[in-house]
Symmetry: D2
Subunit: 365 residues, 4 copies
């Protein structure tokens, strides 16, 4: 009999609970036991953060947002921030303690659901400590090279597209320029997908530095065509060609006050477009709306398949690997490969071509 422990790490993503459901049900069906480690690796540090997962506990969670395990990033076990007596914050390596507990409790496999940060930690546990780890990829941004798609992405794109849909009528009624800032620090997948689906006029992504003049020309072209409003979708990580001048959106924390002053790229674009076009221009930041809520049908199914495939991999002792979607089917890929590189939007990809060909301005030229 196997005894599995599952953890969820990093930011929220619609579909986490569906993965948990599937891992639990698939394991129970094999006569195995499943435990959940709350708050990342917490359950392998403190016993009361480790919970037995039964069929009853996961009933009806498939369609819910969030994670029943509390996905909050409580830090890297290889460099965990701890306060010493003097009140200083030190980084301590508690990975051995975790590995000892893992062994002591008789676990035969750790299924780690997480983004590239969590998967890298999982990989280190596999390589350095010999933990039998299986990864399940989770990134809203869909920017993992090793899998065709991750769960949560379809939900994020749908939420963004619905928002863009709603802005059309208001922009039209007031002859306005509306700027919508969506997620995507390093890659433009969400902006590109939601912008194309939502009928945006302009899409700005990190992979293509933009030029305000190009955008102004598009707004003018729209007016010549009798279309007096313009919708601009901008990824939070997009930047202008004259990029030295751009204040990138920074983390809200100690420097929270500063961010209030600076605003994000959406507000910056809105201000510049207002200046250059003279049009009534508004901006909107979708922010956390994109991470939350019930997963779409697509994401539910993908997450359930990921979970079941991970348990199948556990059965076959395919450790230090990650479940991935390749041409519509589940495959195992080495964790080392999965975390190596981020998937940027290729400039010659079909989605970029589609955008250009149906008349969407990508801010360049």
């Amino acid at each position: 009999m196997n005894r599995i422990v599952i953890s969820t790490g990093g930011g929220d993503a619609p579909g986490l609970n569906a993965v948990i459901y599937s891992v639990v049900k698939s394991s129970l069906a094999r006569g195995w036991e499943v435990y959940g480690s709350k708050s990342g690796y917490r359950g392998l540090i403190e016993p009361d953060e480790l919970i037995r997962l039964t069929a009853d506990q996961v009933r009806d969670i498939t369609s819910t947002g969030g994670t029943i395990l509390g996905s909050t990033n409580k830090g890297n076990p290889f460099a965990m921030p701890v306060e010493n007596e003097a009140g200083e914050i030190l980084l301590r390596d508690i990975s051995d303690r975790i590995m000892t507990n893992f062994t002591r409790m008789g676990f035969s496999c750790h299924i780690a659901v997480g983004g590239d940060g969590s998967l890298e930690i999982a990989h280190r546990f596999a390589v350095e400590k010999g933990m039998p780890v299986i990864g399940v990829p989770k990134t809203i941004d869909n920017d993992l090279e090793a899998t065709q798609m991750t769960f949560g992405f379809d939900t994020a794109v749908s939420t963004a597209t619905e928002a863009i849909d709603k802005l059309h009528s208001t922009a039209k009624s007031h002859d306005r320029v509306m700027v919508v800032e969506v997620m995507g620090r390093d890659s433009g997948w969400i902006a590109l997908s939601s912008g194309i689906s939502g009928g945006a006029d302009v899409i700005l992504i990190p992979e293509i530095p933009f030029n305000i003049k190009t955008i102004s020309r598009k707004i003018a072209d729209n007016e010549l065509d009798g279309k007096l409003y313009t919708i601009i979708v901008v990824a939070e990580g997009a930047s202008a060609e004259e990029s030295g001048k751009i204040h990138k959106k920074t983390e809200q924390s100690e420097i929270g006050r500063q961010e209030l002053l600076l605003g994000g790229i959406g507000e910056w674009v809105a201000a510049k477009v207002r200046e250059s076009s003279g049009k009534d221009t508004r901006s909107l930041v979708l922010g956390h709306l994109q991470r939350g809520g019930s997963p779409t049908t697509f994401d539910r199914l993908l997450a359930l398949r990921f979970g079941a495939a991970a348990v199948r991999m556990a059965e076959n002792s395919q450790f230090d690997q990650m479940v991935s979607l390749v041409n519509g089917e589940m495959e195992a890929v080495p964790l080392a490969d999965a975390i190596r590189e981020r998937k940027k939007v290729p400039l010659n990809s079909d989605k970029v071509m589609t955008a250009r060909e149906i008349g969407i301005c990508l801010g360049d030229y």
Copy 2:
């Protein structure tokens, strides 16, 4: 035979097209003619802004957002901004010209769909120029005293509630405080309704000055109950008791830059809460999302009923009056009454009591 002209004025509201559909179909059914005046009164100034509305033209518009007549506020005909040769902006009264055209074109009734600004102008046309006017109330904020409900409100509340729903999982996953700013400059109807429906912990409305300490206490109480996250819904017009210190959100226009610096009440609350509670706190402004999109079923039906009732009033020559919903039925009320007062949230109203009784903090005490 009657010849009706319909106009839509002011900001966007889901259901405008349903009113137009209903007015057109109800009029055609009586053998009347209907014309639409584009961009407010524009169609009564320039002939090419006046369009004949047929069954074909309104087919399938009921469920669409925006207005086929372009609701952009082009100014008050009694004080229309006009540029003179010297490039100065002067206010000119063009109401007589409009009335002359109205008569010349043989119109027997003007159905004016609009908020209190538009309805006041309509009332002046009725009283000062003798125009046979019928009003249809439109305010997202639901703050007209004379009608139980206006179309667009249910859609705005639904959009806000869906957003709050989505934020729960993310707030929970990260033990966060999430502040959502919703519409409501002078009244808290949207904040109160969406906050109750969406399971907010704190709701701040213009009618009840709030105290940051009270909010901090609620956050602490939540933690004692094992609930490590908090959702705060704040109406854009809410203000703190120490209100002198608050920067109200101002119109974006020339002073657009300034607004970027100041931020809205949502950001202000987030900053204060972050300061006082030390919790990871994020804010989100729903803004124009609430005005756009397809109307809910409720709003479609209400808008269709308003339109049909307006035409019935036209048949009975009930001019200088507004269609309104009273205890679930259509009634005619004098425009003079309708525009007199805004409907604030009564502090002893059932919704306020419900909020308090189910444990929602309203920021006072």
Copy 3:
């Protein structure tokens, strides 16, 4: 201190859990205890069907469908079907036993959430046994005379409208007649509201006997207008003028087989229309889709207000009464009045007039 027991009876309705949430939270806020009686009065018969309701137990249930108390109709306590030794089913009055338990457990109030059947039983307990009862009205059909609206209705109408919306494109693509059967055995509120909102061409309700010839004429008129498809919404309780010939839809039970043969009114209308018009005609029964799922924002809010108002009534000892919505506000009405009469669609009501005036055929003339 008060000790409340709440029960939910009869069919499913979106919003039941929101009522429970609100009753629990409002009671706890007053320092009261709340218990839930599972499966109607079951909790007052068998101790293990009675559960203590805490804040934890109702967390996050507001937006969920169904009821955590299991609303299944387990029969009338005044005439409960019981099997005797000979295997015969007898009706036994167990109301005294229930009342004894109610008193013994120290309950000070019973909040009964239910339709007219459940409310009538509650009223008998109040009158005949002296039980301090407060009713909360629940009928998907919105046919209680004593309240302007009940929760669940807006959700049912929204579900039906969304279905009608979807059928438009298919009907149009294939030049078809689509017949949609919606709920409404005795009244046409759902059919009328969803039919108007959804842009139906024909709406058939129990209050207006219909004529197939009239429907055929409408289909022909549509074709003359270049509209080659027709959407017909029919309430399950609608009947033709030549009504002797109509097989009303019967309950599925022992006679399940028979129902399969007979079909409902939707199929009957489809068959007749196919016959008389020669058009490709399909029918669809929405059935239980209308009862299930997450409540709309409107229904959530209404249900939460009902629950809080019921607890307020308990505080004021307003027993043998029901909470109701009157002109947008909560009021208490005697249960005796509430159950006396069903609210039919008045033939001269504004909704009927609106339907006719915007060109919808109601099947008469």
Copy 4:
């Protein structure tokens, strides 16, 4: 300069208008002309069924259901039913007439959007008449071997999943068995995907003959686990092992009456389950709900990409080929290959394994 003609054939599918939008915009961007042939090949037979497609005409159609070209299947041009003087229906080959018109009007490419029937006809035009044809695959059922996915499928699955979601609460409240019949005559893709996502207990697909005893055992197992309700999803083409006894659902047409008597497989399963389990059992046929309505974000994007890719293929003269999705990218595959075989659900596929592993009964064993 190129002159393109686009046609849509066969049943309705969400996303058709998005394909048209994309083809039109991509063609105009190249300086080409685009025409739409209404009702399949009708526009190549009668001049008034051929319409010039401009940017204005396709504005705002991306998110709408149906097709602006009227997709009604008007028959096969190689064997078109025509009535002769004696009133007999004969099949006539009018393909030459169509080809002549095609050439005469100067078209350089025909983009045929359709299911396998329409694509086969397109292929014949390419091979036998030399028409430069490019296919765009359209099947709700997702059963084309040559493409990983077709548009419309995600919407159909989402609609079915939402319906299943809604049935949970009602089934639970009444301890019922609910049977939902979804589309899928020859393959179980929709049933399998929506059943897994929607948390069904039993999924019956054409690829796996089912046994009522197995289903009864699952219902009993559920009860032992304290789950008193069961959701069964059945594809319309599923059949029992003792299949000789099953009445397959037949086309409604002349034999419409007969179908009313027989019912579909959903009703049959419900009747059998009611018989064998004694439980209150209801059935529901989703039918045309699955074909209609606004496409999901996923389908919009896929349809837009298909359209743009088709025009790219036209530019490269890749005729007699079909655009397809292969591992997330657009590729051209020969039409001959595309139409050869239907994609059945492989019994060892990951989705089937997932279903079994998370405890879903597939009706076998």
